[in-house]
């Protein structure tokens, strides 16, 4: 598999939310640096060339899809880096390195339940696209912002999908319950999950309680993205520090501490 660092041009940057607001959502398409054989679940580090030195690190984003021509990311503006990335325009140059990390299992004999929380939906677009038998797949998507902010419809066009919106804090117990029952229902199959840590914790507990095989994609602040700095570690099942960027981001639910 190719793994490299390249300067590539922005093909298209499409704002899915209100421009320049925190909570903004962006679909960013770059020239493909040769990553068409990436595996869904892998990510890349991005660093726009216009950044000076004041932001020291690149920013990790899941590869949402890639073909011979381009690679696409979806991100939400949450801080300095994503804020600046949101002003990228076609033709701007970005330094990218990847594909990084490991990936979600893709067993041919399903069923596979995809559980996504917020921007955690990003990697499942490519997963749904590449998985050989879409009938085996099912997506449950918990989200806050309007559905149009996420690549949901692109996935729902291909596989069975349901979205549940958290409109206020009161909806949370309902969502947790729903997620738990989805995990339980997946018994005998495989659960793949990506989303905020509390979301992953819910799934981890449910998977343990009901003896369901699950894989969780973790987030962490990252400096190098390649396993060298040891800044992004989490604890595996035996309390050893392992790099989220290199040994993950995808971990078996029963071999990681959240």
């Amino acid at each position: 598999m190719v793994r490299n660092c390249r300067e590539v041009k922005v093909r298209e940057s499409r704002h899915l939310g209100a421009w320049d607001q925190p909570g903004d959502f962006v679909e960013l398409t770059l020239e493909n640096p040769g990553w068409e054989d990436y595996r869904p679940g892998q990510f890349a580090m991005l660093r726009p060339k216009s950044w000076g030195l004041d932001l020291t690190w690149g920013r990790p984003l899941s590869i949402s899809r890639a073909d011979a021509d381009s690679v696409t990311f979806f991100f939400q503006v949450v801080g300095k880096g994503t804020h600046r990335m949101a002003s990228l325009a076609a033709g701007d140059e970005v330094v990218v390195w990847g594909p990084l990390g490991n990936w979600f299992s893709a067993p041919v004999d399903g069923p596979v339940t995809l559980l996504a929380g917020g921007m955690g939906i990003a990697p499942f677009r490519g997963y749904a696209e590449r998985y050989p038998n879409p009938d085996n797949l099912r997506l449950v998507f918990a989200h806050r912002a309007d559905l149009s902010s996420y690549p949901y419809q692109l996935i729902a066009d291909r596989i069975a999908a349901q979205a549940i919106q958290e409109r206020s804090r009161e909806d949370l117990p309902m969502i947790i319950e729903r997620i738990e029952s989805e995990v339980k229902a997946a018994k005998g199959g495989l659960v793949l999950a990506c989303g905020p840590t509390p979301f992953l914790k819910t799934i981890q507990h449910a998977a343990k309680d009901h003896g369901v095989r699950a894989e969780l994609s973790l987030e962490s602040s990252m400096a190098c993205g390649v396993g060298a700095c040891l800044g992004c570690v989490c604890k595996d099942g035996r309390d050893r520090h392992v790099q989220v960027c290199a040994r993950g981001p995808v971990f078996p639910s029963d071999d990681v501490r959240l």
């Binding site: 660093r47 030195l53 020291t56 690149g58 390195w97 993205g225 390649v226 060298a228 700095c229 040891l230």
Partner: protein, 304 residues
């Protein structure tokens, strides 16, 4: 253009070395460049026994820099020798082991393990651990301790060049460099990180689980350059410059103040091919600055 540098018994094909803790064991960067093109690689800090390091969070981004409190997570010196060293191109690129211990004896034992390893070109001694026996200040902040540790590593290091890596968190860096020289060091390298801190006003907590951590990156380059300048004037042994080097021009600045070679640390996080790019850009940067020869540059600083 001849980029070779020779000092302290080392022969490097160019003066660009990657700094400990920022380049893993080198192998992590193989997809981004040919690691044999580097002048040298200082591997992640090694201790006698494996270490899990500090709890998370361990890193924070700061303006033009970062804080880290990794806590020398490493598989232990034996695993390094067994699992990593054989994979490294040590015949072509100097592989420098970085030693971390918290007592003089432990430093001796660590050196002993590495003394016989053909693949290890030199020993770099990281004296940043607080010495619990002598009051809790780091070894590296006390010239007497620096000297003792240096002597011990020299004694057990099997004749390998010993480089003592100095901390900038001291009143007089020249004294520390001299202590290393007096202890028999073949070279000093500096600077290690500046002690720093970051807090989160929302959670009211430090951003590092360890509370304090080491500041590195372009932010600290002026401090590093001053320390290297002072160390070069304080000792006769060679000096390796470290701190905020992110370009070929930066590397030349350190050589101008007297460094024999340099290490690139945090800049490896700007992009994983940055160290290779610095090697590539060095000849052009030298031409732009009308530097024909690194030795001449090294003696070239014009003081008022």
């Amino acid at each position: 253009m001849d980029l070779r540098v020779e000092f302290a018994g080392l022969v490097l094909k160019n003066p660009i070395i990657t700094a400990s803790g920022t380049f893993g064991f080198g192998l992590e960067f193989q997809d981004f460049g040919d690691i044999r093109r580097l002048g040298g690689i200082v591997v992640k800090g090694l201790s006698l026994k494996p270490r899990e390091g500090n709890p998370m969070p361990r890193i924070v981004e700061t303006s033009c820099g970062m804080l880290n409190a990794i806590g020398i997570q490493n598989p232990g010196v034996e695993a390094f020798v067994r699992d990593k060293l054989p994979l490294l191109p040590w015949r072509e690129t100097a592989i420098i082991a970085n030693l971390y211990a918290c007592s003089v004896q432990e430093f001796g034992a660590l050196s002993g393990v590495l003394a016989a390893e053909e693949g290890v070109a030199a020993l770099e001694v990281n004296v940043s651990c607080p010495n619990v026996q002598s009051g809790g200040a780091a070894f590296g902040q006390d010239p007497a301790q620096i000297r003792k540790v240096t002597e011990e590593v020299k004694k057990h290091g099997g004749g390998k060049p010993v480089i003592v890596k100095l901390s900038p968190n001291v009143t007089d860096i020249g004294l520390c460099a001299r202590a290393a020289q007096d202890g028999g060091a073949d070279a000093v390298s500096l600077i290690n990180t500046l002690l720093g801190m970051a807090v989160d006003i929302r959670t009211r907590k430090p951003r590092l689980a360890n509370v304090v951590g080491g500041l590195s990156g372009p932010a600290i380059k002026p401090v590093a350059l001053r320390c290297v300048h002072q160390a070069c004037r304080a000792v006769k042994i060679p000096v390796i410059g470290i701190g905020g080097i992110a370009s070929a021009e930066d590397a030349l600045e350190f050589i101008l103040v007297g460094a024999s070679a340099v290490q690139v640390g945090t800049a490896n996080f700007l992009r994983p091919d940055q160290a290779f790019r610095i090697v590539d850009e060095l000849p052009d940067a030298m031409r732009m600055a009308k530097v024909e020869d690194l030795d001449a540059l090294r003696r070239g600083l014009v003081l008022p």
